[in-house]
Amino acid sequence: MDVISIIRPKVTGYDEEDSDVEMSDVEVNLDKDSGLKTDVVTPGELVTDDPIWMRGHGTYFLNEKTYSAVAGSILKVNRLLSVIPLRGRYQPETGDHIIGRIKEVGHKRWKVDIGGKQDAVLMLGSVNLPGGVLRRKSESDELQMRNFLKEGDLLNAEVQSLFQDGAASLHTRSLKYGKLRNGYFVKVPSSLIVRSKNHSHQLPGNISIILGVNGYIWISKNVSSNFDSTNSKTNKHEAKLVNHGKEYNPGQGTLSIPKLEESSWEIYSDKNDPDISESIRSTIARYVNCIKCLSHCEIGITEQRIVTAYEASMAYENAGSLIDVEVMENIGSDVINGEKMRGNG
């Protein structure tokens, strides 16, 4: 019976005799053209004393010299010098497919936690509302905002634009975006997510996955999108109640697309699919552990690697053993070796 596994803390001891490394012995890799360091820099490290460089993100200037403010690699664009941090909070970019959690409902907008420095903003005008895409947002919509999305709700969205201060403005104006259901949420460092064309994938075992660029991952049962109308009715009913008896017709007085209206309340439903089988649930749990393995081993997360890790994890009949550090490292090395064998590692 596997009850508890205890590991010992790793001793990163330095040899007492040679604890001091002579600075002059360290070979510094210098770029021949620019006289800059080419490898990784640490905070406070001198990057250059050449005043010709413009200082970008992750650097600071002191006594005519440029130092690194973060731990990361140097990026040069023409004369602009910046340091890209190895780790850090997610920095949104326009077009990123992300997952966020509603933090606050405000005036015509939702504040969304996306794991960045600032909360993102989702304007009431940037979501699909019941009653079709092509309509204006009315005052009754503003009063209904909590019926669409409330605090704690998870959604996937796209970064529409960035504000001056770097905060993101999101939109969910597509049927592939919106509330998340039928699954489980995992968080990994955003630096591990490899940007690609497509961030939602189908995995073996009838599982869908959304790899948010911000490191938030949603693993769910693959549900084909034939909505039943029961859920939409319940939510519609709630909406009516809140409105103090006054009839609330979504998108009243505007043109609506009938097909969309039928499915529209559906996209804000909180109800999971009633028949998610146990095998699907255990498959999701196994995928979750595989993603944690990749994250533990600091391997960039892509669809292909998740599938490889999942296949490697099949060697362990009990998916619960995947939480052991030793097993996690085995799976990580399996993934890396697999890529090397195929020649793309």
């Binding site: 009850v3 704690g152 999971n272 146990e278 619960g320």
Partner: protein, 283 residues
């Protein structure tokens, strides 16, 4: 921690099927892996550090003092300190009272007796650096390790001081020190507390943050020397309304803790003995 309604119902449904599918695929009786070490604080009689895989971390130090037995109401004093939490908050007071209720009852007090007049007083200081789930289980493991690694100096003066008053004196050779809990004496190990979550008909040990959030109720079960010991308390692991506990739940939790407890004690004792080797090699 806040969950969306869909997440909450997914977790709840997964944990209520038979057998429960836990979010990290653990079985119901499986703990999260921990990283543990002990006897590393040079100024304490015993110390330990335990880290959980979810980032929780606790350090416990055991110090002893020679006191006049008749002046002390209790020979054990427990203090818990949590980062960013007030010392007089309910959360901390509840933790301390749970720990006291088992330690004061199940601690072999006679081991602390020095002479007719004098005893050791044990101060158990716990510091929780960070925690995501309810820290009692973590703390209990940590206290176990610290107590198991506790060493007391060897008494050189006479044990009988009833007639002639005499201050106890000790051997100042630390190598001659004695362990508070000798490894051979299996009969009185320090007690442990386990946290058990309850959902539907299922019980599961060492609930993670999310599991706590959706659990209907929680149980704290004491365990010492291979048997279930009081206290057995119910506790509300989430901030939401809890449901009742049936005797079935309690019996299930009992048999689970009885089975797991032995394994946990065995694993913890291995840590103590391996760190003990390190200790003796230094001194």
């Amino acid at each position: 921690m806040i969950l969306s309604p869909a997440e909450r119902s997914y977790l709840y449904d997964s944990l209520s099927v038979q057998p429960p599918v836990r979010p990290d695929a653990r079985s119901a009786h499986q703990f999260r892996p921990i990283e543990a070490s002990c006897s590393f604080l040079p100024n304490s009689n015993g110390s330990s550090r335990v880290r959980l895989s979810d980032g929780g971390e606790a350090i416990v130090s055991v110090k002893t003092q020679v006191v006049l037995t008749k002046n002390e109401s209790s020979l054990i004093s427990i203090d818990v300190d949590i980062n960013k939490e007030r010392d007089d908050s309910n959360f901390i007071k509840n933790l301390i009272s749970s720990l006291e209720s088992i330690l004061l009852k199940k601690f072999p007090i006679e081991k602390l007796k020095l002479t007719e007049r004098y005893s050791f007083k044990v101060y158990i200081d716990c510091f929780i650096l960070s925690h995501n789930s309810y820290p009692l289980g973590l703390l209990s493991l940590c206290i176990y390790l610290a107590l198991k690694s506790t060493r007391l100096p060897l008494l050189t003066s006479t044990v009988n001081d009833r007639e002639i008053e005499e201050q106890p004196t000790f051997n100042d050779d630390w190598e001659a020190s004695k362990k508070l809990f000798e490894p051979s004496e299996h009969q009185d190990d320090p007690p442990l507390l386990f946290v058990v979550g309850i959902i539907g008909n299922n019980v599961f040990i060492d609930p993670s943050n999310e599991e706590e959030e959706v659990s209907e109720n929680g149980l704290i079960v004491g365990f010492a020397n291979g048997e279930i010991v009081p206290p057995v308390q119910s506790t509300n692991l989430s901030n939401r309304d809890s449901k009742g506990i049936s005797p079935k739940h309690i019996l299930k939790a009992y048999s689970m803790v009885r089975n797991c407890g032995k394994e946990v004690v065995k694993a913890l004792n291995t840590v103590v003995s391996s760190d003990d080797d390190v200790f003796t090699s230094i001194y």
